[in-house]
Amino acid sequence: MPFIPHTDEDIRRMLAEVGVDSINSLFDEVPSDLIDPGLPGIPEGVSEMEITREMNERAASDMLGPCFLGAGAYRHHVPAAVWEITTRGEYYSAYTPYQAEASQGTLQLIYEYQSMMSGLMGMDASNASLYDGGSALAEAVLMAVRANRKSKSGRILVPDTVNPMYCDATRTIVGNQGITLETVASNAETGAVDVETLEQWEGEDIAALVIQQPNWFGRLEEAQALTDWAQRNGALVIAVVNPTAMAVLTPPGEWGENGADIACGEGQPLGIPLSSGGPYFGFMCCRKAHVRQMPGRIVGRTVDLEGRTGYTLTLQAREQHIRRNKATSNICTNQGLMVTAATIYLSLLGAEGLERVAGHCHANTRKLTERLAGIKGVSLRFDGPYFHERVVELDRPAEPVFQQLASQGILAGYPLGRHDKRLSNALLVCATETVTDADIDRFADALSHALAKAA
């Protein structure tokens, strides 16, 4: 019985106090034909020593190597301090800070997180996390539909330059509430949305326009003009952004004349390990006017009985545990520990450090793609400004090349044909600050080699 502290003597004493003669008697209200399934499929328990050995072997079997894959998750340097502090028992093993007086550590940290995220996004307010970037977009769509009181249509414009996995998740989540996502086609030459394309919706009842910056192809959208168009047409603007990029790019709060209404995205780049896809966290910020429509926990600063500063969950009347079927969302448990890590990460980097990291991501991607473009059989696709991802086009289907390079320990980018047949020769590549010149050489050499053979 690992983790159960009871001695035989304890058990005797406890049963006597309860007035039963066996533990099984405690289950006497359960219909007896349901009791004790036996569980032949569950193996015997093992000691910590044994599982440690197993996990070490399993972890060792998972390949590591240079990583040019992004497509929604990015390998960044995570300072050691981040997780050494985040996994302290007081953060790691605490519950949601409902008892404010006994949770000032987590609460103040979240307040600081909200301040940093608001600052990075140039927005008025932030919540304290959603599940991930994909589901955050879904929540943003639901929120926009609630917040846009003038719109009754439930129509959301979503460019085809938005991460397709985000669109899938959003469709799953909002699909049952009469909301429709309408696709905005991007310019096939530039890989970004032309404002002119939106003119077909001019004057229509649109609840919101989604703008991803940098977009799925790594390209920078004309966020200013798109935002102005949407707001002129009564639509809210939902920004989906990469937080690292926001150290150097115009933040959503400054898009167009009034700024985006909601900013959301994937928080993983802020100190969260890749970890095969999770746990990450979705972030969400908004303008003051919309804060009561925002889902998720929000912490406010206030004072205690003696006038001292303190922090507490606030605006709980938005949430399911108070408002039940009228809540802004069903979210309860969020990704709090990831927010803890991100807060420590952002504190360590500061605006200065994050700007340097972002700068090196961009510069490394430039270096990488210039190098790749020099390889026979490789060309760059989609012209125009980018942040830290770009599309390279091969002279043959990308998927087999991707698999081949992976078997050599190189993650060669994301094969875009998985979502769009027209792009089946394309790889979306990324080089963060962790990539060295030697890594780039290794990739370029392996790719040249792979393409040297006839397709």
Binding site: F3, P37, Q99, Y131, D132, G134, A169, G278
Partner: protein, 488 residues
């Protein structure tokens, strides 16, 4: 304990942790100015030591399982084995990109596959998907599958989900997110569902029912098989809210009770940490009827090779719930925990969490506290109502809760479920010792004594925490949600 400045107030313009960023700025000139940020973001400007010190000190202001008994009902605050953390954080697991090919992640995928299998066995369901990122997302997936099931059969008159009044808030909120109306039914005086009310509520408009069993009032729903038959016969499906699975782990299986779909809060029953709010994992178990609609991705196995199953494999799936495959790191922790427990260990979780709850209930009852449903067995949790104390002594459940903090105990869940006045929902879990339970009883008795002598004293609690009671009204009215640059 002294107050801790905001991290912003510790900063100086130009300071940052220099070991953590590249030594030089990179050239960004090729990004046109109109795309570039004009002003630096408001961020802390602090040294690495300042960060470490600040967040270490802040951490000490938290209660946590690692420091305090935490009998928070419905939340299963049990020991989070440290090995689960350290093994899930092995570099091979942490550094793997989610889009890396399956061939390079056999270690990780194998763990998930085995976890799916174990969860299917222990819940009595046909298959398991680990995609949902928390209980509420598991609920969403489950109810969405119920909807997909009816839709697939063209059975489109089903507009209602039945939810007991004792249900957790996520249940009705989820039903609404799936486009359903919520039909609430009362709890009977004996703690079970009011069968008459249920009979009346069930009908051709019923898409399904969401139940927690043991329910959130802490007792096992004795007529569960009857309920299952009733709902199924009406064409509805049964959703099991697995937040309370700890009470029956290895003893009773939701699948055997007749449920069609269930979610498991791995961050409760499988002891992954709550992390001050998350992340969790809301794995769902799927029965025969709903198999075609299982959310993606899910781990499959083929000739000893593990791979992600996608819409290609599950064409009628409700789809994906997030960008990637779920809270992988949380799932690894649950896997390690499940393996350490093994078959016997799982059963014992139910046994000892139940023993602890019944012991604590008996002791509190003996000390004169009013147990709700005193005639019933407690499951892994139970309710006391402080209505009597509130009336006689003027001291509420909330007051008891705050004063408990002073005495070193995290407060039980207060004022939930909504139907019991002045209630505390108490869940001691199996990992606490009998001495800690006795200590808690003593604390409750002490507080009642204190209230008898000086009610205002108890109402003024806590005294020994970093702050006294907070002004929540001010917090909600004069919204202060971020640092605005002033010194605090």
């Amino acid at each position: 304990m002294s107050q801790e400045s905001l991290i912003f107030d510790l900063g100086r313009s130009g300071r940052y942790a220099r070991a953590q960023a590249p030594a030089e700025h990179a050239d960004l000139a090729d990004i046109p100015a109109e795309f570039r940020r004009k002003q630096r973001a408001v961020m802390p400007e602090v040294s690495e030591l300042q960060v470490v010190r600040h967040y270490t000190r802040l951490s000490q202001k938290n209660f946590s399982i690692d420091t305090n008994f935490y009998p928070l009902g419905s939340c299963t605050m049990k020991y989070n084995p440290r090995a689960c953390n350290s093994l899930a954080m092995l570099p091979g697991f942490l550094d793997r990109h989610p889009h890396a090919p399956d061939s390079t992640g056999q270690g990780f995928l194998g763990c998930l596959y085995n976890l799916q299998e174990m969860l299917a066995e222990v819940t009595g369901m046909k298959t398991v998907s680990l995609a949902p990122m928390a209980g509420a997302q598991g609920e969403f997936a489950g109810v969405a599958m119920i909807r997909a099931y009816h839709d697939a059969r063209g059975d489109d008159g089903r507009t209602e989900i039945i939810v007991p009044d004792a249900a957790h808030g996520t249940n009705p909120a989820t039903a609404v997110m799936c486009g359903y109306k919520v039909r609430e039914i009362p709890t009977a005086a004996d703690g079970d569902v009011d069968m008459a009310a249920l009979q009346e509520a069930v009908g051709p408009q019923t898409a399904g029912i969401m139940l927690t069993n043991p329910s959130t009032v802490g007792v096992f729903e004795r007529r569960i098989q009857e309920i299952a038959t009733l709902v199924h016969e009406a064409g509805g499906l049964l959703y099991y809210d697995g937040a309370n699975l700890n009470a029956i782990l290895g003893k009773v299986r939701p699948g055997d009770m007749g449920f069609d779909v269930i979610h498991i809060n791995l961050h409760k029953t499988f002891s992954t940490p709550h992390g001050g709010g998350g992340p969790g994992a809301g794995a769902i178990g799927v029965g025969e009827r709903l198999l075609p609609h299982t959310p993606i991705p899910q781990v499959g196995e083929d000739n000893g090779q593990y791979y992600w199953r996608t819409e290609k494999d599950i064409p009628q799936t409700i789809g994906r719930l997030s960008a990637f495959g779920g809270n992988a790191g949380v799932l690894l922790r649950a896997y390690v925990y499940a393996r350490m427990l093994g078959r016997e260990g799982m059963t014992r979780v139910a046994e000892y969490s139940t023993l602890n709850a019944n012991y604590l209930m008996t002791r509190l009852k003996a000390e004169g506290f009013q147990v709700w449903l005193p005639e019933r067995r407690a499951s892994h949790e139970f309710i006391i109502s402080l209505k009597g104390e509130a009336k006689e002594l003027g001291v509420t459940a909330g007051d008891f809760a705050k004063r408990l903090l002073d005495l070193g105990y995290h407060a039980p869940t207060a004022y939930f479920p909504l139907l019991v006045p002045e209630c505390l929902l108490i869940e001691p879990t199996e990992t606490e010792t009998v001495d800690d339970l006795d200590g808690f009883v003593q604390a409750m008795v002490t507080i009642r004594e204190e209230a008898r002598h000086d009610k205002e004293f108890v109402k003024g609690a806590p005294y020994n925490m970093p702050v006294r009671r907070l002004d929540e009204v001010k917090a909600a009215k004069e919204l202060d949600l971020k640092w605005q640059g002033e010194a605090s």
